[in-house]
Symmetry: C2
Subunit: 251 residues, 2 copies
């Protein structure tokens, strides 16, 4: 048996991460619909009781995975945020970092969507839910910052009937709707529809930004070719990973 030590905060976090990672591997292998606590326990050098010390239940574990996933996504958002370019370009990059993330980490993305389901939130611990809210707020931060800059440098005028939070939400929910509805086709372009998620995301982003009169407008600039360059520059390793997956972005 493992020699038990007394409370060590860092070790606890370490162990929690180990459990989460094992669960992610199981999701990748068997699909999220077949994840069970028993399997997780079997994968991990701890007993069921110990696992349940960290997570009050299966849903709580799912939400924990989702929260970790949001943290990873935040890093991509940050990279997009610090890109040298016009604000509209950078916001487009943010939306595409979300998409890249969904393609590269389907298990994590899937878990994020599932974690939004009421049956998951309904059974998770209050702390974990609170953490999710904080993380989402932080995630919005990147979007928020770009809008602020855009308004400051006059490339965007805030509509008088909207505030900053609404602007952020508009961008976020548009990308969320597009990607999640097409998530089944995110990995491989299935034949069911003619919709290609990266193209739709690109179009809808631009429609929304044009609707906001965010300069430069689509008709004035080749956003498409510029985005490709920016993606190569900001996400070189991620783009490479996509190529290795045989899933090059086409739009």
């Amino acid at each position: 048996m493992t020699p038990p030590k007394l409370l060590d905060e860092a070790a606890l976090k370490e162990r929690e991460l180990q459990i989460i990672n094992s669960a992610v591997l199981l999701i990748q292998k068997n699909g999220i619909e077949n994840l069970t606590m028993d399997k997780v326990v079997a994968q991990v050098p701890f007993s069921k009781g110990t696992v349940y010390k960290h997570f009050i239940g299966k849903e709580d574990l799912l939400l924990a995975i989702s929260n970790l996933a949001i943290k990873l996504l935040s890093e991509l958002f940050s990279k997009a945020f610090i890109f040298q370019g016009c604000t509209r370009e950078r916001m487009l990059l943010v939306n595409f970092s979300y998409l890249i993330y969904a393609i590269l980490h389907p298990a994590l993305f899937q878990t994020c969507i599932c974690a939004k389901a009421p049956n998951v939130l309904g059974k998770s611990s209050a702390e974990r839910i609170q953490e999710q809210e904080q993380l989402e707020t932080k995630l919005m931060g990147a979007i928020f910052g770009i809008f602020e800059e855009a308004i400051a440098n006059k490339s965007l005028v805030m509509p008088e009937y909207m505030d900053m939070q609404q602007l952020c939400f508009a961008t976020w929910s548009m990308a969320y709707g597009t990607i999640s509805l097409l998530s089944s086709e995110v990995e491989q372009c299935s034949g069911r529809t003619n919709l290609v998620v990266e193209r739709e995301l690109f179009n809808q982003s631009n429609l929304l930004f044009d609707g906001l009169q965010w300069q430069p407008l689509t008709k004035d600039k080749m956003h498409c070719s510029e985005l490709k360059v920016a993606l190569e520059q900001v996400f070189p390793s991620e783009i490479q990973q996509l190529k290795e997956k045989g899933r090059e972005l086409k739009f």
Copy 2:
């Protein structure tokens, strides 16, 4: 060749509907996270074996409920479609019929969202999944028709880089993202954010339509007041139900 059927088709459908309705009542009462097949069986004058003749499992039942819900939503869409007004106005009505539906039938809406989760689709029967695809295609029909008219009467010019299916999807996914992300606040405006779902839906619809240069543009017309009138005219009973729920639309 065909064996003698002692049971007629209609009775089977009738019974299936009875099971579905019982399940919906259980969801309304206990929440979708607590729905179990055992409870459904207990609510229904049939045995478990019979219930499983209709649905291969719990997820299949959920998808069946979702499909029924889509049919109901179709009816609202149809009402919006035949409204006498400009095309942009009618599309706005379609989006709002979706919202009204989400508020009036939270259990059904919730089930629709859950039915999109991979763990549900992964365990449902192929036939039921196919039915879902057909219903969604049909649902898109109303949106499709309005776009066709808009293009025919020149109030909208199709962007050269998009086709009809993409246009439809853009509208749909925008509304989906907005409503589903705010669904937790759909019934009661929770204090967590300052976002009000009907207002965000209104704004984002108009931003998208403005981005498409869909006439008349927001700056040229009071879409807001006109929408209120149209809602009263097209959905009088639904608006009344909303008032009875103490959930008047404010935007």
